[in-house]
Amino acid sequence: MLSQRVIETLVGLFLLAAILALMALAFKVSGLTTFFKQDGYNVTAAFEDIGQLKVRGSVKIAGVTVGEVTGIMIDPASYKAVVTLRINSTVKDIPNDSSASILTAGLLGDNYIAITPMYGTVFLKNGDAIEETHSAMILEKLIGQFLFSIGHPGDKATDPSTDTADKGAKK
């Protein structure tokens, strides 16, 4: 039997190893960063339809992740989805006439927000809203429109019910 001192030391090491492992699980595996205040700034964007976009989804410019979605809520007046984006503070110079669109990574991947920078000289800052937005493409809607347009050749331009949905699809 080991002496009590040695046992206590070994148990202490065991506890320490477990705490280190828990920290590794928190920061390395689950990417838990909300304990620390994230540097970055928030902008909002209102979308007609966000599809499968979720909180913590990524925000990309030219395919490079520059931030994440921190909140999604419905605007009760306009019935649009207001998405809050946190952009890393290293990416400061996004022109305020840039557009935000919801795209899908691969055929079955997650939705993310792509920001396409434009040429304005005023840059987005904390609390600003991105005005120009493109909704998510929803496969069911596209198929529905496609079937509808096969069934009614020529009707499409005059049918007002598909008009709003078409805008998102054609872009």
Binding site: L2, Q4, I7, E8, L10, V11, L13, F14, L15, A17, A18, A21, L22, A24, L25, A26, K28, V29, S30, G31, L32, R56, S58, T65, L108, D110
Partner: protein, 260 residues
Amino acid sequence: MINQVAALGSLGIEVVRKYGKAGIILFRAIFRVPNIRKGFPLVVQQIYAEGVLSLLIIIVSALFIGMVVALQGYHTLSKFGASQQLGPLVALSVARELGPVITALLFAGRAGSALAAEIGLMKATEQLSSMEMMAVDPLQRVIAPRFWGGFISLPLLTIIFNIVAIYGAYLVGVKWLGMDAGAFWSNMQSAVDFRLDILNGIYKSVVFGVVVTWIALYQGYDAVPTSAGIANATTRTVVYSSLAVLGLDFVLTAMMIGGW
């Protein structure tokens, strides 16, 4: 005829009595903690016996389980062109299911059986009754430190199991199969939620810790004081605690997915 009915009735009463005894043992183990100065070294000794000495089997199994899940997952995922999703696959399956359940099963086999055999032998050699003769409460001196040792050790072992298994998957996925390390970690981080996935796995292991040590202590304390009785108690400990862990795992998972 009447004898069989009576036998059935006494069997029922016996079963209820056993549950009652087990409940009393658990209650006393939790609430009759000796004073901190005397009890603490005993608990530390038990954490050493149940936790530190189980580390080797936990680490080795975690490493191989992580490696095998990564290998299997990679081959299946690459059929769909989704091998980038290996990180989330491994991390989620380990943190939510494999970590708590396999650690608890190994713990039942490694530490639970030892507890039952130790206490059963103490009872058979009348160490427990001689403690009572000396006015030392065996529940306080023997059962309670063992209970707390198991209760503390199992969650810690689960945490270590999780991280070792994920690093085993990293070894196979990144170092051997040549995945991109950045994609491995960043996909994992975006898919794994700390509270929903990792903490829920640890809550599971806390429940398993209570159940496995409880069953082991009860079976040891209630063992027939013969060599065959101790053998039976050890076997029952492993069988019952494995069944309890797997059954409770289903219930807990259903509760967690249901969003209790």
